[in-house]
């Protein structure tokens, strides 16, 4: 626990736009200078789209969030601190692949409406 506190915390943001009813697949990599990914959370630009949206996430080729997980469970509410809200994971960063499949299935949006999703990866850099 003590070790965690001495490490430097960093944030990586993945941003993409989702249209109503669409499935969006993001493929990218974690930053090379980050050593480990310690948490993940996300925010939607339109929280009305939370109802019915699901996602699936892989980090370093490990499925950390299984298919059909509701986005609402990982969404950052305004009344929670980042520490509390980050979904705890512990995977290698260092340019490892990130894959996110985001499915919108919301009824509560206007047709052809779209919104932005920001996925935050809470990373750590080891102190040398």
């Amino acid at each position: 626990m003590e070790k965690t506190e001495t490490n430097i915390q960093k944030l990586q943001v993945v941003k993409f736009e989702v249209n109503k009813g669409d499935t969006f697949e993001f493929n990218g990599n974690t930053k090379t200078e980050h050593d480990r990914v310690k948490g993940i959370f996300l925010r939607l630009s339109n929280p009305q789209a939370l109802q019915g949206a699901t996602l699936r996430v892989w980090l370093d080729d490990t499925e950390i969030i299984p298919d059909d997980t509701e986005v609402a469970l990982l969404h950052h509410n305004d009344d929670m601190s980042i520490k509390d809200v980050a979904f705890p994971v512990d995977e290698k960063a260092k340019n490892s692949p990130v894959r996110i499949i985001y499915k919108d299935n919301s009824e509560n949006l206007a047709v052809e409406d779209s919104y932005h999703v920001r996925v935050y990866l809470l990373a750590e850099v080891d102190k040398k």
Binding site: Q48, L50, Q51, G52, I64, I65, P66, D67, D68, T69, E70, A72, L73, L74, H75, H76, N77, M80, D84, V85, F87, P88, D90, N105, E107, N108, L109, A110
Partner: protein
């Protein structure tokens, strides 16, 4: 390391459910469970009036623009009678104030028609009420006679801002349509059994469409060691409140993974 597994079921026609699912082979210890139910239904639209933020800095800025400040010179306050001053104000100064404010106050969130409505609303308000306000409530004519040009110009600018602020709830608003969040309701009881004998949940009341909180707050902690290839049995007793809408049950299983 914690891992998660999701089981999704959609009971048809408001019916009951009695199914068995195999847990992942690596799942040897269940550490928590969360259950959530959602009903997909068309959202209803409702009109909501939303206040726009009051553009105080913008109005102060506009009032400092040259086209306005040049108008507030002493001519207005040195007229021999109040009626004459008022007439001059209405014919020369007021149209300029209206023009600057209605064309200067723009919101990027409004479309062209909404913006036009806002400008019209500002013009309408100022042309009908502002003169009366200045001359009757602020009593600008008697006050102005003992003021310097500069402080007189300042007074009019301040009163313009104040007048706009008092009337902000009539002007700075927009009507928009938002979708209503479906009402939450109790949809039935759920029981979860491991390997057909050990209860994880027993007749747990499920509420559909409730506001789901973050995963860490949703998980109910358990400590349930398992054999390899264990299965989980889901028994859902619907209370027939769903009226034919499709219910989606999601069971999240948190387990320890080496």
């Amino acid at each position: 390391m914690k891992r998660y597994f999701v089981i999704t079921h959609q009971p048809k026609d408001n019916g009951h459910l009695n199914v068995q699912d195999l847990l992942p082979a690596s799942c040897k210890l269940i550490t928590g469970i969360a259950v959530n139910a959602t009903v997909k239904q068309s959202g209803q639209l409702e009109d909501v009036t939303e206040n726009l933020s009051f553009p105080q800095a913008l109005i102060s800025g506009l009032l400092k623009s040259e086209s306005i400040t040049d108008l507030f010179y002493s001519y207005l306050r040195t007229r021999s009678s109040e009626a004459e001053s008022k007439e001059f104000f209405e014919s020369d100064i007021l149209p300029e104030i209206i023009q600057v404010l209605s064309s200067g106050i723009t919101y990027s969130c409004l479309d062209i028609t909404e913006q036009q409505e806002l400008s019209d609303c500002i013009a309408e308000l100022f042309s009908t009420q502002f003169t009366d306000y200045l001359y009757n409530e602020v009593e600008i004519f008697p006050k102005g006679q003992y003021m310097s040009d500069l402080s007189f110009a300042d007074l009019i600018a301040q009163q313009t801002l104040l007048f706009t602020y008092i009337k902000r709830e009539d002007i700075f608003l927009r009507t928009k349509q938002v979708y209503k969040q479906p009402e939450s309701y109790e949809c039935g009881n759920i029981s979860l059994l491991v390997n057909g004998n050990s209860f994880l949940l027993r007749d747990y009341m499920l509420t559909a469409n409730r506001n789901v909180r973050h995963m860490s707050k949703e998980i109910m902690p358990f400590h349930e060691p398992l054999d390899v290839n264990s299965s989980i049995h889901t028994v859902f007793k619907s209370n027939k409140n769903s009226d034919g809408r499709t219910l989606t049950l999601r069971i999240y299983i948190e387990y320890e993974h080496e």
